[in-house]
């Protein structure tokens, strides 16, 4: 038995080495260099040899220790299990710790401008993830064009703020309503679609909005983007280093020194509050009839119809409410950047948000946070190694899918439970 296993392992690793040779031989081994206007081939067989050996030996070792089910030394059985167990049971504690940490975060000693910017970006993605979680996680509608609502929110905020001079707190709900309207607009034609077909249409919708923004020059200034979007003020008190004559600003009102960090901290808390509102709203609405109907629709649409649940209204509300939160996040994005252009709303953004929701565990609120911290954090860590970022991103996704195939946090809690008191 033992000997046969050993033999197959060797055979398998030699085969792996052969595949590695076929793959890396031409890609890595043959390098062309332009010399004196002539293209010369500089073979690098030594590097190829190293890669092939690494692949073959690595395969052999994984065969021996990871895929060998007789031995309990595999990664999956020890560390992986305990992490999985921790995630499955401690979801609530993780969430509580995360909230406390995020509240005190701006005042921690190591927090600087750079970290604050990353934190704000992460919170924006978390909010988008929570918004999309309503559509994908609860209602089960795979929406690949979510960035469209983000864009609609950002542009409607920017246009209203620039042209009418309305304040952030007036424009925010308007942007949300506009985004929700676009959500319904998308919802109507896709009512009958499901799965892959729905994904394709929503993807197209996202692109349509971006192309519309790019070409409607009179309104959106096309690729030039919108500049001079008003910054948010602290309930009417702007953040300015040199106030105009007689103008109250944040630092004069509170009698403190002006510090550019004040605005950053305000923005941080603003997005934190917006994100937490999104979260609370989702947690609450999940327990209401409409939320339960969303989940039922995800499970079985035909059964829903047989019980008299109106699938049209249910789907449209999911699209509208999900889009509304995308719109809120969009207006925050606009006011934070003070400049928006269609560049910021490409398909890759949608893809990242969908990845966050799926990797977090569909429908799990805490999972979205963990996935965001993981993915966006990873992208930031790899900022200096620009060309390896996407490799790391993809690698991380593959790892999560191997160890947690249903997402980081996949446990679902019932929305309503029967009081156990009577039975005890």
């Amino acid at each position: 038995m033992e000997k046969k296993f050993f033999q197959t392992s060797i055979k398998d690793s030699l085969f792996t080495g052969l595949i590695a040779l076929a793959l890396f031989g031409p890609i890595v081994g043959l390098r062309t260099v332009a010399k004196n206007e002539v293209l010369e081939v500089h073979p690098k067989w030594f590097i190829v040899l190293i890669i092939v050996i690494v692949c073959a030996v690595g395969r052999f070792l994984t065969n021996l220790y990871v895929y060998n089910r007789d031995q309990k030394t595999g990664i999956q059985s020890s560390i992986g299990k305990s992490i999985s167990n921790f995630l499955d049971t401690k979801g609530y504690q993780i969430a509580l710790t995360a909230i406390i940490f995020s509240v005190i975060f701006p005042f921690l000693p190591f927090t600087d401008r750079y970290l604050m910017d990353i934190a704000i970006m992460m919170l924006t993605y978390i909010m988008l993830g929570w918004g999309l979680n309503i559509v994908i996680g609860l209602a089960g509608l795979l929406d690949l064009g979510y960035v469209a609502f983000y864009a609609v929110g950002a542009y409607s905020y920017a246009l209203f703020a620039i042209h009418f001079g309305w304040s952030f707190w007036i424009c925010l709900p308007i942007a949300g309503i506009f985004a929700a309207m676009f959500g319904v607009l998308l919802g109507f034609p896709v009512l009958r679609l499901r799965g892959d077909y729905l994904a394709i249409v929503t993807l197209a919708f996202g692109e349509m909005i971006r192309i519309l923004l790019l070409n409607w020059y009179q309104l959106t200034k096309g690729p030039d983007g919108l500049t001079g979007i008003p910054r948010p003020s602290f309930f009417g008190l702007p953040f300015k280093s040199f106030p105009d004559e007689g103008e109250q600003t944040f630092h004069t009102f509170f009698g403190v020194e002006y510090d550019p960090m004040q605005r950053i901290i305000f923005l941080y808390y603003l997005i934190l509050v917006l994100a937490l509102i999104t979260n609370l709203f989702t947690i609450k609405i999940r327990r209401l009839p409409i939320g339960r109907a969303w989940e039922a629709l995800r499970e079985d649409e035909i059964a829903c119809k047989s019980l008299g649940v109106n699938p049209r209204n249910t789907k449209l509300t999911a699209f509208a409410i999900g889009a509304m939160f995308g719109g809120f996040a969009g207006s925050f994005f606009a006011t934070r950047q003070a400049f928006i252009s269609p560049e910021s709303f490409t398909f890759i953004e949608s893809a990242i948000i969908v990845a966050i929701v799926v990797l977090g565990g569909m429908g799990s609120q805490t999972g979205v946070v963990l996935a965001t911290v993981f993915l966006i954090g990873l992208i930031e860590v790899f900022r200096d190694f620009e060309s390896y970022r996407m490799i790391a991103f993809g690698g991380a996704m593959v790892l999560i899918m191997i160890f947690r195939p249903r997402g980081i946090l996949a446990t679902r809690k019932p929305t309503i439970t029967l009081e156990k008191s009577s039975s005890k």
Binding site: P289, A293, I302, A303, S306, G308, L418
Partner: protein
């Protein structure tokens, strides 16, 4: 007019050239169990799909007589049959919400009532007392039904984790949670063992006698059909070949020839 609960008159359903139901007329009584039987492909499930709005019938009419109104089911499209007319159904292959808890399954069935109470979600968001009260009532109704089928202790488990027989029963009481006038059951005894079939009979008789709900039953399991049916309609190739009491059906030469005869 006779006060039958359901009057189906000259119902015809064609799929292109295929006539699935041909000029079918039958009726079902309130607090009676009417069985529709027939060999495979006789069009039984198609009748259900027409009744419950999943198909649009080609011709004919289906009237549901409530206390003081007469509704033509053909005028309702899919979910409205359950919502407005109060016709509930179950499916041949169980369609529960497998990843939702047993209790949640029953709560979804009471969706329309709760949706109104939640004031299109706005009142519900703020926990208005009227909504909280309605939700409690809905939980009580669910608990009542769970007690009847003996699944109260599993109320918070995923419906998909229940044993097959319990899933069948849960699907039936879920349909009962919409408070229907007519309950259409598509092969409820399929895949059940003898003990489970007996329990099913008890449940159906309870619904008939206590809830005064008319039951329309498609079934292959003759022990169920013969024991509890008040009235049997036999279909073959989309046509009604016989109707009568269970006893009459058993002895009818047409039925034996078309249906029971093929069994042996």
């Amino acid at each position: 007019m006779s006060q039958k609960l359901l009057d189906v008159e000259n119902l015809t359903m064609k799929f292109g050239g295929l006539v699935a139901i041909d000029n079918l007329s039958f009726s079902a009584d309130k607090d009676k169990i009417t069985s529709i039987i027939g060999p495979n492909g006789a069009g039984k499930t198609t009748v259900f799909n027409c009744l419950t709005g999943f198909y649009k019938a080609t011709a004919g009419s289906m009237f549901l007589n409530k206390e003081n109104e007469r509704l033509n089911l053909r005028k309702f499209s899919d979910f409205k049959v359950a919502q407005k007319a109060g016709v509930a159904r179950t499916f041949q292959n169980i369609r529960l919400f497998p990843q939702m808890s047993v209790l949640e399954n029953l709560m979804v069935a009471q969706h329309n009532k709760l949706m109104d109470a939640s004031g299109f979600t706005i009142l519900g968001l703020f926990n208005s007392p009227s909504f909280v009260k309605k939700e409690k009532e809905a939980v009580e109704i669910s608990k009542y039904w769970l007690d009847i089928i003996g699944l109260t202790h599993r109320a918070d488990d995923d419906a998909g984790d229940l044993p097959y027989g319990d899933q069948r029963k849960l699907e039936i009481v879920r349909a009962m949670c919409i408070n229907p006038h007519l309950l259409c059951l598509d092969e409820p005894a399929a895949g059940l063992n003898a003990k489970e079939s007996a329990e099913l009979n008890k449940l159906l008789l309870f619904i008939k006698n206590e809830k005064k709900t008319g039951i329309l039953l498609i079934e292959h399991d003759m022990s169920v059909v013969m024991e509890i049916s008040d009235h049997v309609v036999v279909l073959n190739y989309g046509k009604k070949i016989f109707q009568g009491s269970a006893k009459e059906t058993k002895n009818s030469p047409e039925v034996i020839e078309a249906y029971l005869g093929t069994e042996e």
